[in-house]
Amino acid sequence: MSFEESLKELEGIVDTLEKGQLSLDESLVLFEQGIKLVRKCNTKLKSAQQKVEQLIEENGEVKEEPFEVAINQV
């Protein structure tokens, strides 16, 4: 699952739990799922790396290639 999907699901879970119309068992399942998603989102956000590519033309064909810029100064 992508970060975006994880975050969306997490938001949904918090919403559902907030409405409070669940059984204890159901809420525990969701809670556990939610905590897992928090961890997942955090990990993903922290480990994600920016990748920079450049579109170049080769023999009339356009392709993507890694692009080195002075972004490392950031």
Binding site: V14, E18, L24, E64
Partner: protein, 403 residues
């Protein structure tokens, strides 16, 4: 001088001779400054006009195959620079300029062209909010179309790198000069064939001439037709190009475009933390609620109350037992009394009473049959006589019937 020396031309011959002089090349590729008048946009697609200044006029024709590259429409009174070659229109015997390009002359004219195109595109609805595409909340890959040199790319990459780990696809694009419009259109088209979620079209600040490519109709249409949302970031905050109006979002600067394009990592971090806290808080509250509910229920089944309830039952049962016993007793009393009464009556008719008054009962042995008549016994029969306090065994010696 007689005509014998030089001969006589026909009109056509003369015209051709003049033409050959004028079109020799001296007047080719010429730029001429002037003002447009008598402009006709002919249905054939060719444009005819007169270029004039205070003292002179020049006939001009722009054939449609050159006209299609025009970046604005010609107008009467417009100050322009025209580029073309000298030509002679033989049928009319006039010389004229075959125009290959027309450019607005001076900034005032550029603004005029800008206003003209802006009005036209606005009428067509290219700026309408209905056509604005929504930006993705979390783009995975962003296409950046700008110059490979210059601060714009660096600014965008810096801001993106700081805010959010998104992948970037950079397409080197000419953003200034004659080929800029074409290059921008191509970049947009190419990026539309990739998997970018969003395009930033950027250029640093500059004069209106520098930014001109972003005011071209082809660029505006390419932005409008882009399947992928486009953020335009052209020039400085105060520069508004037509590209800005057509784009789905206009950013005042390239850095701002990058900020608009992605969420902030820190904010996102906080958002996730907040969600986590809400999750825990919710669950804690939920468990608390459940607990207190359980306590309520528990109160309902406490042992003390249970015993109390039980005692009540026991007492009730005891009570029932007592009532049952006493009513049985009463019933027995009544029955006893009744029995006694009956017993008394029975006594009155009992043979025992008769015996106590001196009478006796005779039974014939061995069968113990009651002897009531003389015929009941014979001589020598054994009989038992029952008296009030015992039995007497006798033999019958004799019998006599009373008459």
């Amino acid at each position: 001088m007689g005509f014998e020396t030089k001969g006589i031309y026909t009109v056509h011959e003369f015209t051709l001779a003049v033409k050959s002089v004028l079109t020799r090349g001296q007047f080719n590729d010429t730029w001429i400054r002037g003002e447009i008048s008598n402009f006709t946009n002919h249905s054939s697609g060719h444009r005819y006009f007169t270029l004039k200044d205070k003292n002179s006029q020049l006939h001009c024709v722009m054939f449609k195959w050159y006209g299609k590259n025009l970046k604005f429409e010609l107008e009467h009174g417009m100050k322009v620079l025209v580029f073309g070659d000298m030509d002679v229109y033989e049928q009319k015997g006039v010389y004229q300029l075959k125009v290959r390009d027309v450019r607005p002359d001076g900034i005032g004219e550029l603004y005029k062209a800008y206003e003209q195109l802006k009005n036209k595109l606005a009428m067509e609805g290219l700026f309408s909010p209905d056509h604005k595409k929504t930006l993705p909340r979390f783009p995975k890959k962003i296409g950046v179309a700008t110059s490979p040199t210059g601060a714009v790319l660096h600014d965008i990459l810096t801001v993106l790198g700081r805010r959010y780990p998104v992948n970037i696809l950079f397409i080197p694009t000419v953003v200034q000069g004659d080929n800029a419009g074409q290059s921008i259109v191509r970049s947009i088209d190419v990026l539309n064939k990739t998997k970018v979620d969003l395009i930033i079209l950027g250029r640093g600040g500059g004069s209106i001439e520098d930014l001109w490519a972003f005011n071209e109709e082809t660029v505006a249409r390419a932005i409008f037709n882009s399947r992928i949302p486009i953020i335009s970031a052209v020039g400085h905050e105060t520069d508004f190009t037509i590209a800005d109006f057509v784009a789905d979002i206009r950013a005042p600067t390239p850095s701002a475009a990058a900020e608009i394009a992605v969420p902030d990592r820190l904010e996102l971090d906080n958002h996730i933390t907040r969600l986590g806290q809400m999750l825990i808080e919710n669950q804690r509250r939920f468990v608390e609620d459940m607990k207190s509910h359980l306590t309520d229920l528990e109160d309902g089944v406490k042992p003390r109350l249970f015993v109390e309830g039980l005692t009540r039952y026991i007492r009730f049962i005891d009570d029932l037992t007592r009532r049952q016993t006493s009513s049985i007793g009463r019933l027995m009393g009544v029955k006893q009394a009744l029995l006694n009464a009956h017993a008394g009556k029975l006594d009155a008719v009992s043979p025992l009473g008769t015996l106590s008054r001196g009478y006796s009962i005779t039974l014939k042995l061995p069968g113990k049959t009651l002897v009531q008549r003389i015929g009941d016994v014979d001589r020598s029969d054994e009989v038992s006589i029952i008296v009030s306090d015992g039995k007497i065994r006798c033999n019958v010696n004799d019998k006599e019937e009373c008459k």
